[in-house]
Protein backbone atom coordinates (compact mmCIF):
# COMPACT_ATOMS: atom_id res chain seq x y z
CA UNK A 1 0.00 0.00 0.00
CA UNK A 2 1.33 3.41 -0.89
CA UNK A 3 1.80 5.90 1.88
CA UNK A 4 -0.11 9.11 1.31
CA UNK A 5 2.06 12.02 2.46
CA UNK A 6 0.22 14.10 5.04
CA UNK A 7 1.91 17.26 3.80
CA UNK A 8 2.18 18.09 0.14
CA UNK A 9 5.15 20.23 -0.74
CA UNK A 10 4.70 23.17 -3.05
CA UNK A 11 8.13 22.67 -4.58
CA UNK A 12 9.61 19.46 -5.80
CA UNK A 13 12.92 18.20 -4.44
CA UNK A 14 14.62 19.14 -7.69
CA UNK A 15 13.39 22.76 -7.40
CA UNK A 16 14.60 22.98 -3.79
CA UNK A 17 18.07 21.66 -4.73
CA UNK A 18 18.24 24.11 -7.59
CA UNK A 19 17.35 27.01 -5.28
CA UNK A 20 19.89 25.92 -2.66
CA UNK A 21 22.62 25.88 -5.30
CA UNK A 22 21.66 29.37 -6.50
CA UNK A 23 21.83 30.77 -2.93
CA UNK A 24 25.27 29.31 -2.37
CA UNK A 25 26.58 30.55 -5.70
CA UNK A 26 25.21 34.07 -5.10
CA UNK A 27 26.77 34.26 -1.61
CA UNK A 28 30.07 32.98 -2.94
CA UNK A 29 30.02 35.61 -5.70
CA UNK A 30 29.42 38.41 -3.15
CA UNK A 31 32.10 37.15 -0.77
CA UNK A 32 35.25 37.33 -2.86
CA UNK A 33 36.75 40.07 -0.66
CA UNK A 34 37.01 39.97 3.19
CA UNK A 35 34.70 42.31 5.11
CA UNK A 36 36.78 45.13 6.74
CA UNK A 37 37.16 44.81 10.52
CA UNK A 38 34.87 47.31 12.33
CA UNK A 39 37.43 49.00 14.57
CA UNK A 40 37.99 52.43 13.01
CA UNK A 41 35.86 54.05 15.76
CA UNK A 42 38.51 53.13 18.28
CA UNK A 43 40.81 55.87 16.99
CA UNK A 44 38.07 58.51 16.53
CA UNK A 45 38.23 61.58 18.77
CA UNK A 46 35.55 62.20 21.39
CA UNK A 47 33.49 64.93 19.62
CA UNK A 48 33.00 62.69 16.66
CA UNK A 49 31.55 59.92 18.86
CA UNK A 50 27.80 59.74 19.57
CA UNK A 51 26.54 61.69 22.59
CA UNK A 52 23.31 61.06 24.50
CA UNK A 53 22.30 63.82 26.86
CA UNK A 54 20.47 63.03 30.10
CA UNK A 55 20.72 63.89 33.76
CA UNK A 56 22.84 61.96 36.21
CA UNK A 57 19.83 61.54 38.51
CA UNK A 58 17.77 59.94 35.82
CA UNK A 59 20.38 57.39 34.78
CA UNK A 60 21.39 56.43 38.31
CA UNK A 61 17.82 56.27 39.59
CA UNK A 62 16.86 54.16 36.61
CA UNK A 63 19.67 51.74 37.37
CA UNK A 64 18.91 51.61 41.08
CA UNK A 65 15.17 51.14 40.78
CA UNK A 66 15.41 48.33 38.24
CA UNK A 67 17.86 46.10 40.05
CA UNK A 68 16.56 45.83 43.60
CA UNK A 69 18.15 42.77 45.11
CA UNK A 70 16.42 41.66 48.25
CA UNK A 71 18.19 40.41 51.35
CA UNK A 72 16.97 37.37 53.27
CA UNK A 73 15.04 38.75 56.29
CA UNK A 74 12.00 36.54 56.70
CA UNK A 75 11.33 35.95 60.40
CA UNK A 76 7.75 34.65 60.09
CA UNK A 77 4.79 33.67 57.95
CA UNK A 78 4.79 36.60 55.48
CA UNK A 79 7.85 34.85 54.05
CA UNK A 80 5.60 32.35 52.31
CA UNK A 81 3.73 35.11 50.55
CA UNK A 82 7.10 36.52 49.54
CA UNK A 83 8.16 33.09 48.25
CA UNK A 84 4.96 32.98 46.24
CA UNK A 85 5.77 36.42 44.87
CA UNK A 86 9.20 35.25 43.84
CA UNK A 87 7.92 32.06 42.20
CA UNK A 88 6.72 31.73 38.64
CA UNK A 89 3.06 32.74 38.98
CA UNK A 90 3.75 36.28 40.20
CA UNK A 91 7.39 36.37 39.12
CA UNK A 92 9.29 39.11 40.91
CA UNK A 93 12.04 38.87 38.27
CA UNK A 94 9.92 41.05 35.96
CA UNK A 95 11.15 43.94 38.11
CA UNK A 96 14.81 43.02 37.98
CA UNK A 97 14.96 41.52 41.44
CA UNK A 98 14.84 37.78 41.03
CA UNK A 99 18.07 37.34 42.95
CA UNK A 100 17.41 36.95 46.68
CA UNK A 101 20.76 37.60 48.28
CA UNK A 102 21.84 35.58 51.29
CA UNK A 103 24.58 38.12 51.89
CA UNK A 104 23.44 41.60 52.97
CA UNK A 105 26.53 43.11 51.33
CA UNK A 106 25.11 42.33 47.90
CA UNK A 107 21.56 43.50 48.62
CA UNK A 108 19.75 46.83 48.21
CA UNK A 109 16.34 46.04 49.64
CA UNK A 110 15.13 44.53 52.89
CA UNK A 111 11.62 43.13 52.72
CA UNK A 112 10.70 42.54 56.36
CA UNK A 113 8.38 39.58 55.96
CA UNK A 114 7.23 38.68 59.44
CA UNK A 115 6.86 39.31 63.15
CA UNK A 116 10.01 40.58 64.82
CA UNK A 117 10.79 39.81 68.45
CA UNK A 118 13.01 41.99 70.57
CA UNK A 119 15.41 39.11 70.93
CA UNK A 120 15.78 38.93 67.15
CA UNK A 121 15.86 42.71 66.64
CA UNK A 122 19.63 43.26 67.11
CA UNK A 123 20.32 40.73 64.35
CA UNK A 124 17.95 42.47 61.94
CA UNK A 125 19.61 45.80 62.73
CA UNK A 126 23.00 44.22 62.10
CA UNK A 127 21.87 42.87 58.72
CA UNK A 128 20.59 46.33 57.84
CA UNK A 129 23.87 47.91 58.89
CA UNK A 130 25.80 45.44 56.74
CA UNK A 131 23.89 46.34 53.59
CA UNK A 132 25.70 48.72 51.26
CA UNK A 133 24.24 52.15 50.45
CA UNK A 134 21.82 52.89 48.90
CA UNK A 135 19.47 50.62 50.82
CA UNK A 136 15.71 50.49 51.16
CA UNK A 137 13.22 48.79 53.46
CA UNK A 138 9.70 47.57 52.71
CA UNK A 139 7.69 46.80 55.86
CA UNK A 140 5.56 43.86 54.75
CA UNK A 141 2.39 42.88 56.59
CA UNK A 142 0.62 43.99 59.75
CA UNK A 143 3.44 42.78 62.03
CA UNK A 144 6.03 44.65 60.01
CA UNK A 145 4.02 47.86 60.15
CA UNK A 146 2.87 47.93 63.78
CA UNK A 147 3.39 44.54 65.39
CA UNK A 148 -0.04 43.44 64.20
CA UNK A 149 -2.01 41.25 66.57
CA UNK A 150 1.13 40.89 68.71
CA UNK A 151 1.46 44.63 69.20
CA UNK A 152 0.87 44.52 72.96
CA UNK A 153 3.01 41.45 73.50
CA UNK A 154 5.99 41.56 75.84
CA UNK A 155 8.35 40.16 73.26
CA UNK A 156 7.38 41.66 69.90
CA UNK A 157 8.75 44.82 68.28
CA UNK A 158 5.77 47.06 67.44
CA UNK A 159 6.77 47.77 63.88
CA UNK A 160 10.10 47.61 62.06
CA UNK A 161 10.28 51.38 62.07
CA UNK A 162 11.55 51.07 65.65
CA UNK A 163 14.62 49.28 64.32
CA UNK A 164 15.27 50.44 60.75
CA UNK A 165 13.98 53.34 58.60
CA UNK A 166 11.09 52.13 56.43
CA UNK A 167 10.44 53.35 52.87
CA UNK A 168 7.19 51.61 51.93
CA UNK A 169 4.51 49.98 54.11
CA UNK A 170 2.53 47.09 52.58
CA UNK A 171 -0.57 46.27 54.67
CA UNK A 172 -2.20 42.85 54.91
CA UNK A 173 -2.02 39.76 57.06
CA UNK A 174 -0.32 38.54 55.01
CA UNK A 175 -0.39 40.84 51.96
CA UNK A 176 -1.28 39.19 48.67
CA UNK A 177 1.61 38.91 46.21
CA UNK A 178 -0.12 41.59 44.11
CA UNK A 179 0.03 43.93 47.10
CA UNK A 180 3.72 43.27 47.60
CA UNK A 181 4.39 43.84 43.92
CA UNK A 182 2.45 47.10 44.13
CA UNK A 183 4.59 48.08 47.10
CA UNK A 184 7.72 47.30 45.10
CA UNK A 185 6.43 49.42 42.22
CA UNK A 186 5.80 52.27 44.67
CA UNK A 187 9.34 51.91 45.98
CA UNK A 188 10.65 52.08 42.41
CA UNK A 189 8.66 55.27 41.87
CA UNK A 190 10.12 56.65 45.08
CA UNK A 191 13.67 55.79 44.05
CA UNK A 192 13.21 57.39 40.63
CA UNK A 193 12.38 60.69 42.35
CA UNK A 194 15.55 60.66 44.44
CA UNK A 195 18.31 63.26 44.04
CA UNK A 196 21.58 61.38 43.82
CA UNK A 197 23.85 64.10 45.24
CA UNK A 198 21.58 65.05 48.08
CA UNK A 199 23.16 62.89 50.71
Amino acid sequence: MDLVPTRRFVYSDADLDQHEGEVIEALKARSQQPIPDQDQWLSEKAPEAGILLTSVDKVIDWARSNALWSVVCFPACCAFEFISTAASRFDISRFGMEIIRASPRQADLMITAGTLTWKMAPNVRRIYDQMAEPKYVIAMGACGISGGIFQSSYGVVPGYSRIVPVDVYVPGCPPRPEALLYGIRMLQDKISKAKVFRK
Binding site: W118, K119, S152, S153, Y154, G155
Partner: protein, 148 residues
Protein backbone atom coordinates in the same frame (compact mmCIF):
# COMPACT_ATOMS: atom_id res chain seq x y z
CA UNK B 1 -2.55 2.92 74.04
CA UNK B 2 -0.89 4.19 77.19
CA UNK B 3 -2.91 3.32 80.30
CA UNK B 4 -3.47 6.26 82.64
CA UNK B 5 -3.09 4.94 86.19
CA UNK B 6 -5.67 6.24 88.62
CA UNK B 7 -4.16 8.60 91.17
CA UNK B 8 -6.19 7.11 94.00
CA UNK B 9 -5.03 3.63 93.12
CA UNK B 10 -1.37 4.61 93.08
CA UNK B 11 -1.48 6.91 96.11
CA UNK B 12 -2.38 4.20 98.63
CA UNK B 13 0.87 2.34 98.04
CA UNK B 14 2.94 5.50 97.90
CA UNK B 15 1.63 6.82 101.19
CA UNK B 16 2.87 3.67 102.92
CA UNK B 17 6.35 3.91 101.42
CA UNK B 18 6.82 7.66 101.97
CA UNK B 19 4.48 8.83 104.73
CA UNK B 20 3.15 12.38 104.44
CA UNK B 21 4.10 12.72 100.79
CA UNK B 22 0.56 12.84 99.35
CA UNK B 23 -1.63 15.86 99.99
CA UNK B 24 -4.53 14.93 97.77
CA UNK B 25 -5.53 12.56 95.02
CA UNK B 26 -7.98 12.52 92.17
CA UNK B 27 -8.83 10.09 89.44
CA UNK B 28 -6.27 11.68 87.11
CA UNK B 29 -3.50 12.92 89.35
CA UNK B 30 -1.61 12.96 92.63
CA UNK B 31 -1.00 16.17 94.55
CA UNK B 32 2.41 15.85 96.16
CA UNK B 33 3.94 17.54 99.17
CA UNK B 34 6.69 19.98 98.19
CA UNK B 35 9.32 18.55 100.52
CA UNK B 36 8.88 14.92 99.46
CA UNK B 37 8.67 15.54 95.70
CA UNK B 38 12.23 14.37 95.02
CA UNK B 39 12.05 11.16 97.03
CA UNK B 40 8.61 10.35 95.62
CA UNK B 41 9.72 10.97 92.04
CA UNK B 42 12.79 8.81 92.57
CA UNK B 43 10.57 6.09 93.95
CA UNK B 44 8.25 6.31 90.94
CA UNK B 45 11.19 6.07 88.58
CA UNK B 46 12.94 3.09 90.15
CA UNK B 47 10.21 0.99 91.81
CA UNK B 48 9.73 -2.32 89.93
CA UNK B 49 6.27 -2.41 88.48
CA UNK B 50 6.05 1.37 88.17
CA UNK B 51 9.30 2.45 86.47
CA UNK B 52 8.26 5.83 85.13
CA UNK B 53 11.35 6.26 83.01
CA UNK B 54 10.12 9.06 80.75
CA UNK B 55 9.11 12.59 81.67
CA UNK B 56 6.64 13.62 78.97
CA UNK B 57 6.22 17.25 79.94
CA UNK B 58 6.19 19.83 82.69
CA UNK B 59 3.58 22.57 82.83
CA UNK B 60 2.96 25.38 85.27
CA UNK B 61 -0.32 27.11 86.03
CA UNK B 62 -0.91 30.37 87.88
CA UNK B 63 -4.05 30.15 90.06
CA UNK B 64 -3.43 33.56 91.71
CA UNK B 65 -3.39 31.97 95.20
CA UNK B 66 -0.69 29.50 94.31
CA UNK B 67 1.35 28.14 91.42
CA UNK B 68 0.88 24.55 90.38
CA UNK B 69 3.57 22.62 88.54
CA UNK B 70 2.33 19.55 86.70
CA UNK B 71 4.55 16.63 85.73
CA UNK B 72 3.37 14.04 83.24
CA UNK B 73 5.26 10.81 83.73
CA UNK B 74 5.20 7.84 81.38
CA UNK B 75 6.65 4.36 81.65
CA UNK B 76 7.91 3.11 78.32
CA UNK B 77 8.49 -0.25 79.99
CA UNK B 78 4.91 -0.80 81.17
CA UNK B 79 3.14 1.71 78.89
CA UNK B 80 1.31 3.53 81.62
CA UNK B 81 1.27 7.12 82.82
CA UNK B 82 0.54 9.30 85.84
CA UNK B 83 0.22 13.02 86.52
CA UNK B 84 2.03 14.59 89.49
CA UNK B 85 1.09 18.02 90.82
CA UNK B 86 3.03 20.26 93.17
CA UNK B 87 1.78 23.52 94.62
CA UNK B 88 3.78 26.56 95.59
CA UNK B 89 2.07 29.19 97.73
CA UNK B 90 4.89 31.70 97.99
CA UNK B 91 4.21 34.25 95.26
CA UNK B 92 7.23 36.45 95.93
CA UNK B 93 9.88 33.76 95.78
CA UNK B 94 8.38 30.47 94.61
CA UNK B 95 10.70 27.48 94.66
CA UNK B 96 10.34 23.78 93.92
CA UNK B 97 12.98 21.02 93.88
CA UNK B 98 14.37 20.34 90.42
CA UNK B 99 13.95 16.92 88.81
CA UNK B 100 16.86 17.26 86.38
CA UNK B 101 18.81 14.66 88.37
CA UNK B 102 16.13 12.07 87.60
CA UNK B 103 15.05 13.03 84.08
CA UNK B 104 17.40 15.11 81.90
CA UNK B 105 14.36 16.10 79.82
CA UNK B 106 13.31 18.34 82.67
CA UNK B 107 16.24 20.70 82.16
CA UNK B 108 14.97 22.95 79.37
CA UNK B 109 11.34 22.82 80.49
CA UNK B 110 12.18 23.88 84.04
CA UNK B 111 14.29 26.66 82.61
CA UNK B 112 11.37 27.82 80.47
CA UNK B 113 8.99 27.76 83.44
CA UNK B 114 11.49 29.81 85.43
CA UNK B 115 11.69 32.27 82.57
CA UNK B 116 8.00 32.73 81.91
CA UNK B 117 6.41 31.94 85.30
CA UNK B 118 9.17 32.82 87.73
CA UNK B 119 9.28 29.55 89.66
CA UNK B 120 12.81 28.73 90.81
CA UNK B 121 13.81 25.07 90.58
CA UNK B 122 16.32 24.36 93.31
CA UNK B 123 19.17 22.13 92.23
CA UNK B 124 18.83 22.95 88.55
CA UNK B 125 22.34 23.22 86.98
CA UNK B 126 21.57 26.28 84.84
CA UNK B 127 18.71 28.24 86.40
CA UNK B 128 18.55 31.30 84.13
CA UNK B 129 16.30 32.73 81.41
CA UNK B 130 16.03 30.70 78.21
CA UNK B 131 13.41 32.39 75.99
CA UNK B 132 13.60 36.01 77.07
CA UNK B 133 16.76 38.02 77.47
CA UNK B 134 18.70 38.78 80.62
CA UNK B 135 17.40 41.97 82.16
CA UNK B 136 13.75 41.43 81.22
CA UNK B 137 11.48 42.71 84.00
CA UNK B 138 8.89 40.27 85.32
CA UNK B 139 7.58 36.90 84.19
CA UNK B 140 5.06 37.29 81.38
CA UNK B 141 3.02 34.09 81.81
CA UNK B 142 1.89 35.16 85.28
CA UNK B 143 -1.72 36.25 85.50
CA UNK B 144 -0.81 39.63 86.92
CA UNK B 145 1.71 40.47 84.22
CA UNK B 146 0.27 43.14 82.00
CA UNK B 147 2.39 45.04 79.56
CA UNK B 148 -0.26 47.47 78.34
Amino acid sequence: MTRAISGEELAAGLEQRIPGSIIGTSKESILVNNQSLLSLAAHLKTEPGLEFDFLSSITAVDYYDYFEVIYQLTSLEHNHSIVLKVRCHDRENPAIPSLVGLWRGAELQEQEIFDLMGIRFEGHPNMKRIVLWEGFQGHPQRRDFLSW
